[in-house]
Amino acid sequence: METPIIVKNLTKKFGDVVAVNDVSITIEPHEFLTLLGPSGCGKTTLLRCIAGLEDPDDGEIYIGDKLIYSHVKGISVPPGQRELGMVFQNYALWPHMTVYKNMTFALEIQKLSKEEMDRRVKESLEEVKMSGYEDRYPREMSGGQQQRIALARMLAYRPRVFLMDEPLSNLDARLRMDMRTELKRLHHISDATTLYVTHDQLEAMTMSSKIAVMKLGVIQQLDTPDKVYHFPGNLFVADFIGNPKINLMPGWVSRQDLVDMGKFNIPVKTYNKRGDVVVGLRPEDIIVHDTPTDNTVEFTAYSVLPSGADTTIIAHMGDTELIIKEMGVSKIQMDQKIWLSFKQDAINLYDKETEDLIQS
């Protein structure tokens, strides 16, 4: 089924707080789109507007080709008729119902036959690897199990669209990793249009086909995870995505392909623009040498933090600090002199005024 979600100029206010500010976004059929942003940026509110749990102040929403919300036309289809399934952050399993009852609640409303309900419950429980738990009550299961049941409840309903609001945030780190795998497979198999909300960039990067980064109710960038990571659209996105954090340094474009950083120069791709910029450089795009060579800059290793798979080096020169990531175990010692070079293709320049990415 081809079910895109189209949101046009959606605005939702709570008193003076504009939780969602004139957002327009299209979620293509079969896409796994993640709303990513710091807490309080309006992700949940946007999701709830789409679900019909919140009444927006302006804008339009389509699911498939059906107009489900329009302020100017005064239309709002009730949540139950939008054919959406949702997994809540706290699962929202009904505590007084068994797993079976939880899963068939919606199916009873659809007036499915007993056999069909049994079949769907069985299938869905198998999909989340929870077969045999039909008669348990929510409180008799662990957090991870409850979360699987919440998923199964949604699957049994066979919605056209999956909505998930930080479904993994209440799980511990191990379980979260497992569930990421499962969720991605689930989407792969079901192919349902999915809108996923999280503040965890790793979750967003690993699972999504597209990421929409939000800040203060506005979508900052909508792109594939790869693009969002390598070509952050503005300083906020650049700073928010990536761990360890991106290096952002003020500079000045002195020549078409050279940025003057004050104490040293960085050669870049050719730009037409001159003037004040901010240089964005991912830690893994800096190469460490233990002897000086052409086009290197001398720094001191301030701190060296090995983590096994890679090593993070904090380098200082005067009051300039750079974070560097090296694969494997580094030979660099603390306080040792090091020489750095920069991967020219990986450097992004941002306009100091608008904070937007400068296209080369």
Binding site: N9, G15, D58, G59, P79, G80, F88, A92, W94, A106
Partner: protein, 611 residues
Amino acid sequence: MAVALQESQSPGQLWQARLRRFVRWITTPHVILSIIMIVVMFYLVIIPLYRMVVTTITVSEMDLRMIQGVEIGDLTLYHWIRMLTGKIGQLMTYEPLVHSVTVALGATFLALAIGGLMAWLVCRTDIPGRETIHMLAQVPYIMPSWTIAMAWLVLFKNQKSGGTMGLLEFITGAPTPDWLAYGAFPIIVSSGLHYYTFFFLFISAALLSIDSCLEEAGELAGAGRWRIMRKITFPLVIPAIASGFIMTFSKAMGTFGGPNVLGLPIRYYTLSTMLKSNTGIGNNGDAFVTGIVLILFAMVTVMLNQKIVGTRKSYETIGGRGFMSKKVKLRNFKPIIVAGVVVFQFIIAVLPLVLLVVSSFMLRDGNYSLENFTLAHWLGKGDIKINSGEPGILRNPKVWMGAWNSIRLSILTALFTALSGVILGYAIVKGRGTRLSKIVEQMSFIPYVIPGIAFGAVYIAMFTKPVGPIPALYGTFALLVVVSVAKHLPFSARSGVSAMLQVGKELEEAASLAGATPWRRFVRIIFPLTSTGFVSGFLLTFISTMRELSLIILLVTPTTAVLASMTMRYIENGNDQQANAVIILLIVLVMIGNFIISRFRGGSLKKGLGM
């Protein structure tokens, strides 16, 4: 783009869209319920208050004899001037006002002192028998508020006005002084001993919910125990004290039983007994002036109190089940303190009942010899020499009718209160943050600050004539139900809200995403998850209605009399033993009710009180 869309619409389409949005809003379940409740509360609270004021400034048939040259329905300040100036003002308003305030403040502070001390002992010291103390502390809650006053009479009355003597006078032979027998002192003591249980429950709940870290942090900072109590613990329980204060003060201002039993013999009038005696002679204009003074005074006090401590906080359930902090060791004082508590609880919870039972077995009041003991007041066939010929209460059809009235009144009130609790809770919680929800919440709070007897008076004003679709209810049993339900509105709102808050809103949202209609969501999700709270609420309402007197004393008629009002009638007729027997019967019925209702779904007195 949004602007462009809007401009492309014709005015007709715009209006249509607006209408659709309005219809959508007004058909939201919580909006419908809010509007229904606002209309209901408007009828039950606002209009009666308005009518009451109007009555005091309108000439009635009765007033024609007093005022010259006016017609029925004219405006007049006659009642206000009469009641607030001169000798009559002094006697009928200012003196009773001073008495009411004295009694209410005295009782409240006494209750606070006892309740606070007991709560501290139970929650913060190593006193043994905590559970028992806690349980006994709830006993006064199931007794009518004037039980202790009646027992007081048995002990301390003197022959001056009652004619017969109390136990003390019988033992010592010396006449009990008036100050000990009647008036301010006994009223304060007997009501303070009754109301302490509110403070005890509120404060101990607050103490238990304080996270012990807070106190431990103080200890680590080097503060002594006394300093911690003053600077950390006390400020944290202030909201609990404040809500106890409002509740107790407002109840004590409007209480009728105690002042009637202990005040009238020496003509010590409070506003509530004055109100009763004026309505008794049909002078509603005068009576309602008293009622309004009473209401204003209670409201002002509550507002002052809220201003000083900012009580909004106290209506949120205090979160966090704090762990017991370190106990104060009572050491050598333990035996003395334990003995003190035991004696005290015995005096409050057991002794009054014993005295009443004993008194109910005495043929002639004031005669304590053995041959005077009889079952006549319970089982007697009706002897013209005893109780003006009324049979013993267990054979008396009037008493049985009163019991039946009490029971059905309490059950109906509890049912409707539970129902309005569901509706109010849903309307307020779902609409949180909207103006509508705030209006509903504030309207439901009004009866809280109107003292019981004044609230009853308000209803005389309302229902002597038909109002809108409602027929004249005065004198009917239905009116008793209406007034009891209306007076319980603040309680239903509070318990409804706290029950609703316990059901996370996602649980209902998940159901609405599944396509469930509002009704289905209510039946399948909300009701099952809140029913425990409502059983507790039902229990509490049942009990408090069974022993309610002040609220209905102005509204009962011989056919609608309930047990509580019958005790007053018997006392007025001088049949104290019979009154005492009826009280015992009332308490037994309350206990049976308590037992039966608490079987259901773990409802309990404690939960109902929001502990």
